[in-house]
Amino acid sequence: MIQSLGTRDCYGDVLVRLGEQNSKIVVLDADLSCSTRTEKFAKAFPERFFNIGIAEQDMIATAAGLAASGKIPFVSSFAVFATGRAWDQVRQSICYSMQNVKIVATHAGVTVGEDSATHQANEDIALMRSLPNMSIIVPADGIETEKAIEYLVNNDKSPCYVRLSRCKFPVVFDSHYRFQKGKAALLEDGSDATVIAIGIMINRAIQALEILKKEGIHARLLNMSTIKPIDQEAILAAARETGAIVTAEEHSIIGGLGSAVAEVISEHWPVPLKRIGVRDCFGISGDAEKLLTHYGLTAEAIVQAVKEMIARKKRS
């Protein structure tokens, strides 16, 4: 039985641990601290936690001011509000001003579930990816969440967006895993095709590779947890060595992982590419699992896409 962990739960825990070690860490939330799990930090360090109320634009720019005075602010809300509602504040006060603010948003993608389209961010990566100076990290599980947050505090002084989810993720990594921003993790090697995935789709991609293996197809699997700056080297190696790529993300096919990979290979080494993701539509209510299936975010869809891309590779 694979263990499951909430990426947001791990975020809440690691914040407290890092908060003990580093007094520069401050945390801001916009009335969602129970959901984003920043309430744990709020309880541990009330003087370093600021609930800004339902005011995301104010929260983002306030964080910029704290960073300008030497603090390391972590800012949390739902992905749709942190990136969409406050995009101009992220752009001007954080990215253009190059402030060391970490935006860690939860409830990304369709797995928000019942709350429906207004609360399901399928566009957040696209919004953040277009901003100069911004890095984007989408952890594949709770372990990677903790490692990434720790990495950001200790090794990075630039703006960063970390995308977390409401639902629990099956654990992929063990405690020895080392996160490095900008480096894809090779989870499985293969030469027939490459699956590049992020977030919850990593688990589905692992399942897909098992199915493919039984049919004699050996695919490579890359966890592209840093969407920006993207690991161009790993993508081009995959293109050259496997000749076919499938991307999988719980995000729109416009502007996210699939787009980023397409940009790299189309400029340097074009190979057949299929993007699995939400196909330019808004979400609906339902439970997370049903929605993932409804939008084609499944292991079966990855299997099908890999076969299609291998066939296309052979044709060309």
Binding site: A55, S97, M98
Partner: protein, 275 residues
């Protein structure tokens, strides 16, 4: 602080006159920029930079400096002129305002310009940034004060009122908001475009201590900033009643000089008035 001696007041008035001349020359050379709203904030900047602020132009990142944020970023020419005068950077940079390859961007950019705390231009963000700096100062037990200058049109942005609530909630008495109340915005008179009155009442009801002054009277401004420092447990705002285009008769109160630089002829005429 006691009222300034007459000689000091005259000195500050002279500084304001020289800054106006500098701003008009910069804008004329740049052939674009915001003339009216730069001229309206001259005395506010003089009162702060030449009297009130604890700062060190030779060490712009000094941790104990008071912070000034030009939330109405389009007033950049006035800010640049006073920063250069104080030696934050070479005054020769003023010649290249808005020019390709120049240091001085059309709106304040913190990464290239010593003395600029944060980039501004898209309106409504500066007060929130000030709150963040004020919270940091409180955590650090630092006595620094944070000033954020907003336009009266700017406060039509909803974020300003989010920030107003935040400052009051967190009792940020180290924050001082300033409103450049010149009564005009790009499309016309505020009263016609979107009325912001009752201005003082709005801030009061948001939990702020309000002071209203003649925004072109340096002594008045300094006294108000002194009073703000005495207020405990809540933030203060100085509503500075100003005249857009102040100092140049044919620009004063004229909405068409919001975002237009003076022509050669207009510059000559203006400089004559300011001599």
């Amino acid at each position: 602080m006691p009222p300034l001696p007459e000689t000091k007041v005259l000195e500050l008035k002279e500084a304001a006159r020289q800054l106006r001349i500098e701003v008009l020359r910069m804008l004329h050379r740049a052939k674009s920029g915001h003339t009216g709203g730069s001229l309206s904030i001259i005395e506010i900047l003089v009162a702060l930079y030449l009297v009130k602020l604890r700062h060190d132009p030779q060490n712009p990142r000094w941790a104990e400096r008071d912070r000034f944020i030009l939330s109405k970023g389009h007033g950049a020419p006035a800010l640049y002129a006073i920063l250069a005068r104080l030696g934050y950077f070479d005054a020769a940079e003023l010649l290249n305002l808005r020019k390709f390859g120049g240091m001085l961007q059309g709106h304040p950019f913190n990464l290239t310009t010593p003395g600029v705390e944060i980039s501004t231009g898209s309106l409504g963000q500066g007060l929130s940034v000030a709150n963040g700096m004020a919270l940091a100062a409180r955590l650090d037990k630092s006595p620094v004060r944070i000033y954020a200058l907003m336009g009266d049109g700017e406060i039509q942005e909803g974020q300003v009122w989010e920030a107003a609530m935040t400052a009051a909630h967190y009792k940020l008495d180290n924050v001082c908001g300033i409103i450049d109340a010149n009564k005009l915005q790009i499309d016309g008179c505020l009263c016609q475009i979107k009325n912001i009155e009752p201005l003082a009442g709005k801030w009061e009801s948001f939990g702020w201590q309000v002071f209203e002054v003649d925004g072109h009277d340096v002594q008045d401004l300094i006294s108000a900033f002194d009073h703000c420092e005495q207020v405990k447990g809540k933030p203060s705002v100085v509503i500075a009643h100003t005249i857009k285009g102040k100092g140049v008769s044919f620009m004063e109160g004229k909405v068409q000089y919001h975002g237009v630089a003076p022509t050669e002829e207009e510059l000559e005429k203006a400089l004559e008035e300011l001599r």
